[in-house]
């Protein structure tokens, strides 16, 4: 019973975190853009109103699953976190709810765009690749297999 309880207690926070949408404010941006300890962090920007975003997210998830130790994947929707229910539903339907997920929580979304990537005009999907060596790259549009391959550390 004790072991079962321990397992259950350990599993509960995991259940609570996976798919729990977190807000992204201007103050959170520096931490999100901090280089990872190793490999690469992929920040996948998407929006509810972007039909190209779904296949792009799914392709990034496949890439991450194939490289679980080298690639950290975070999804960020440019839609307001006030749309939590719709965003979480879409993340679930895309089977993306297992990844850390953020949603804009800033009154001026374009300002957040600018802080995340000054060379980004707000088009979606947008992928930011942040590598352990501190280098950073932004790519717009659904990525081709060749572009996806180049994301690998």
């Amino acid at each position: 019973m004790k072991r079962l309880l321990l397992a259950f207690a350990l599993w509960l926070p995991a259940l609570a975190c996976a798919g729990t949408l977190q807000p992204l404010t201007a103050a959170d941006v520096p931490a999100l853009l901090q280089p990872p300890a190793h490999g690469a962090r992929i920040v996948a920007l998407w929006s509810l109103d972007c039909a190209y975003c779904e296949p792009n997210l799914e392709a990034l998830a496949r890439l991450q699953r194939a490289n679980p130790h080298g690639v950290e994947l975070v999804t960020v929707t440019t839609d307001s976190i006030a749309l939590r229910a719709a965003i979480e539903a879409r993340l679930r339907s895309m089977k993306m709810d297992g990844y850390p997920a953020r949603a804009y929580a800033e009154a001026s979304p374009e300002r957040l765009n600018f802080l995340l990537d000054p060379d980004w005009g707000g088009e979606t999907p947008r992928v930011l690749v942040i590598r352990a060596d501190g280098s950073r790259r932004g790519l717009s549009g659904a990525l081709t297999p060749a572009q996806l391959h180049k994301l690998l550390p």
């Binding site: 109103d49 307001s80 979480e88 001026s108």
Partner: protein, 388 residues
Amino acid sequence: MRCLLITLLCLLPLVASAHDGMRMEMPKGPELGASAAFDSHGRLYVVDAADGHVRLRHSDDDGRTLSAPVEVNATAERIYAEGENRPKIAFGPHDELYVSWSQPRAAPWTGFVRFARSPDRGEHFSEPLTVHHDRAEITHRFDALAVDGNGRIVVAWIDKRDLLATEARGKPYLGAAIYYSWSDDGGASFVPERKLIDQSCECCRIALARMPDGEVAAFFRGIYGDNIRDHAYAVLRADGRTSQVARATFSDWQIAGCPHHGPGLAIGADGIRHAVWYEAKGKPTIWYGQLDPGHAPKHPLAIAGAGAGHADVAVHGQTVWLAWNQVNADGYALMLRRSTDNGAHFDTPREIAHSSGAVGSPQLLLKQGRAFVAWNTAAGFRLVEVPR
């Protein structure tokens, strides 16, 4: 121990319930999508959306004070009021007031184009009607509204019926299509819509402008080849003739995505087509140019770069104004450039207003040769007169 387990088990539904009861909602970001226009008496009208109503306000002192709002649609409905997909306003030859908007339907990316009219300067509005005859629950959104020289009301929008029909046959189809319709009876009814072109961009506003001969021209983002998102130009024929569509920008920006960034168009009395558009083949850039459909634009000028967005253009005589939003880490600047030689040269960019909160797309308006920028900000609607 058992108690703790029971407590944990009780907590479980709470955790799980956070994922239940999902329903599709509209983006509720700052809904600052608004449009403004002067009528022939110089009264300013503004339309935006609040609580399921398109609301109309007016000002007789160039925007310093606004009237109490009038509800355009008496019965509340859902309304798109984002930057690129905002309610529109236009006037008939005798100041009849016309309003259009896009109404979200239940499924994502769907909508109906709606229209209402007022014969008495906004005191009363007709029951809204749906402009298109097609009633499929698909995209008919991003409406654009204009009145031609004969008083015809022209509405164009982005439509996905051909995408769905083509995909149902197992064939690929990039983007959406542009459809348009018009009303010959002052907005009581609209003729069955016709397709202007296949394979337009899905989420960029359509710019409409009246030509010197009174016809209405459209400038919009299309798709060329493998997701090259350049722009097209066409005169929207309302006389049975076929509209000829020609590619009008040649930036070769390739993106399998949503630019969320439509162009602007203003046509001078001399017929020169002054245009602004956005592309990010290299760095993000807003361009000015004079359209020469079928060929590259004349007098191209990169007017703004990173952080600049949603430009508009206006022309009066030899003066051309360009306005756009410039975002930076502190908020937004409303930027302006002016040419006094019909677009051959522009002065240096200058900031004419600032907002620390969110803003909608700027819209250049003219009144007796004076230029104003309608700028909807989180702190309220502003009409900024352009310094002479």
